[in-house]
Symmetry: C2
Subunit: 259 residues, 2 copies
């Protein structure tokens, strides 16, 4: 694994202070952070595994432990890393019980936990429609994978998702793999394709149920549904998934915290 040499190529001094008067000054810990993101992005540090200890990283990068610490602090608040006192610092993963369904904000009105069941309706390779291509940063006409599925809570269908993925990084994804995998879909993407969702932006609307969605959610056409359009991003804010969800909110709600 490469070490401090990289840092010397950066606009930081060998061991102490940063340069005096520079345009685009960047603190040391930000540079360390960027180096660490590279390790994550390259897959040198894999999801669920521990990264080197703070003291070892300090030695490797030739900075003090406090500086490494500040870099890790930020990566932890961005949910790229997880600190565990006494054990070490780990690469965040979607494949854990504790982090399961990190992105699904739906909650039962009565607060009860609910067993989730998935049913895959469809999984096919298509040419990306113009709007999907634009969102995913593809050229129009590029291949994409379309997945349709239903989530049921306590046996009743509540969520209908239409998911679009760029075909290239997800080569080999099939309906069988999807239904065979235990755990959240993002866990599969992570372990099978090395694609890691780290952030997402959602646009939420109220729409009227119609067509296939009304059928699958077992509601009359015209019933108000929550429309959740999610763009999932990987490292460097690279878009890797467009998901259009329709939620039946008659007994559930989307929960959000403002601060």
């Amino acid at each position: 694994m490469d070490d401090g040499v990289l840092l010397c190529c950066n606009p930081a001094m060998s061991s102490a202070v940063s340069e005096p008067a520079s345009p685009a000054f960047s603190p040391l810990y930000q540079q360390i952070k960027a180096l660490m993101v590279r390790e994550l992005q390259a897959g040198t540090w894999r999801p669920g595994e521990a990264i080197p200890s703070e003291t070892e990283l300090a030695l490797r990068f030739k900075v003090s432990q406090g500086t490494v610490r500040k870099a890790i602090d930020e990566l932890a608040t961005e949910n790229l890393l997880v600190r565990r006192q006494g054990r070490g610092t780990f690469v965040a993963t979607h494949a854990e019980q504790t982090t399961q369904y990190r992105f699904l904000r739906l909650q039962a009105d009565d607060g009860e936990a609910s067993g989730t069941q998935r049913q895959f309706i469809d999984c096919r390779r298509l040419r990306a429609p113009a709007d999907v291509a634009r969102a995913l940063g593809l050229r129009s006409g590029d291949a994409a994978i379309q997945i349709k599925r239903v989530l049921s809570l306590r046996g009743a269908p509540v969520v209908f998702d239409e998911i679009w993925l760029p075909a290239a990084p997800f080569k080999g994804l099939t309906a069988e793999k999807l239904s065979g995998y235990r755990g959240p879909m993002y866990g599969l993407f992570e372990s099978e394709f090395g694609v890691r969702m780290i952030r997402a932006e959602e646009k939420i609307r109220a729409v009227a149920a119609e067509g296939q969605a009304a059928e699958l959610l077992a509601v009359s056409p015209g019933t108000p549904l929550l429309s959740v359009e999610r763009l999932s991003l990987s490292y460097g804010d690279k878009p890797v998934e467009l998901r259009r969800g329709l939620y039946n909110t008659s007994a559930h709600h989307y929960r959000n915290e403002l601060s």
Copy 2:
């Protein structure tokens, strides 16, 4: 203003380490943080004003500057304080241009900024219904203020809000004060009543337009609307506002970031 004496009453040592083996151990910076929240809550430090410098606080609390710094860091990420390099640290406020509409997540689909207009429909003092009383932590039958208003963006009505406030802390709130005030409503609450919204929880649903809401938003009954139920909290997670908003999302959407 009281000083370090308070700290000595806490389970922290006079100047250095914390106690060796204690149940419910709390780091020094957390204790400092709690003391600072008290100053905010008591109104000693007022919205928009600067708090004492890090070095002065370190002297007052008899801890190192780094410890004060960590306490301020957390209060800043919780949006209670705002740091401004070279100027000082300030108490967060809703009455600023930069922070205006901090809690309104609605955005035009085309991304254009939109002039917002308010129209107050109603403002009356009532007995709180059971559900409102429960949410606000009142006894059922306690007095509450009900406000109804419409927000228009580019001249078209988009949001219908029904707002419930506990009557006691908002004694003297009238429709005239509401319509006379420039700037966000939370700014008025802050300056006029000393009530500061610092956090909120929202439950979002899709519902069908009906009655007064349909009229005021100029849509046919049955049109899907976004229902946003917001519980606003003050210091110590004390609930101080229940707001039920109906959003017409035909040309706007609710924007959310997941991470």
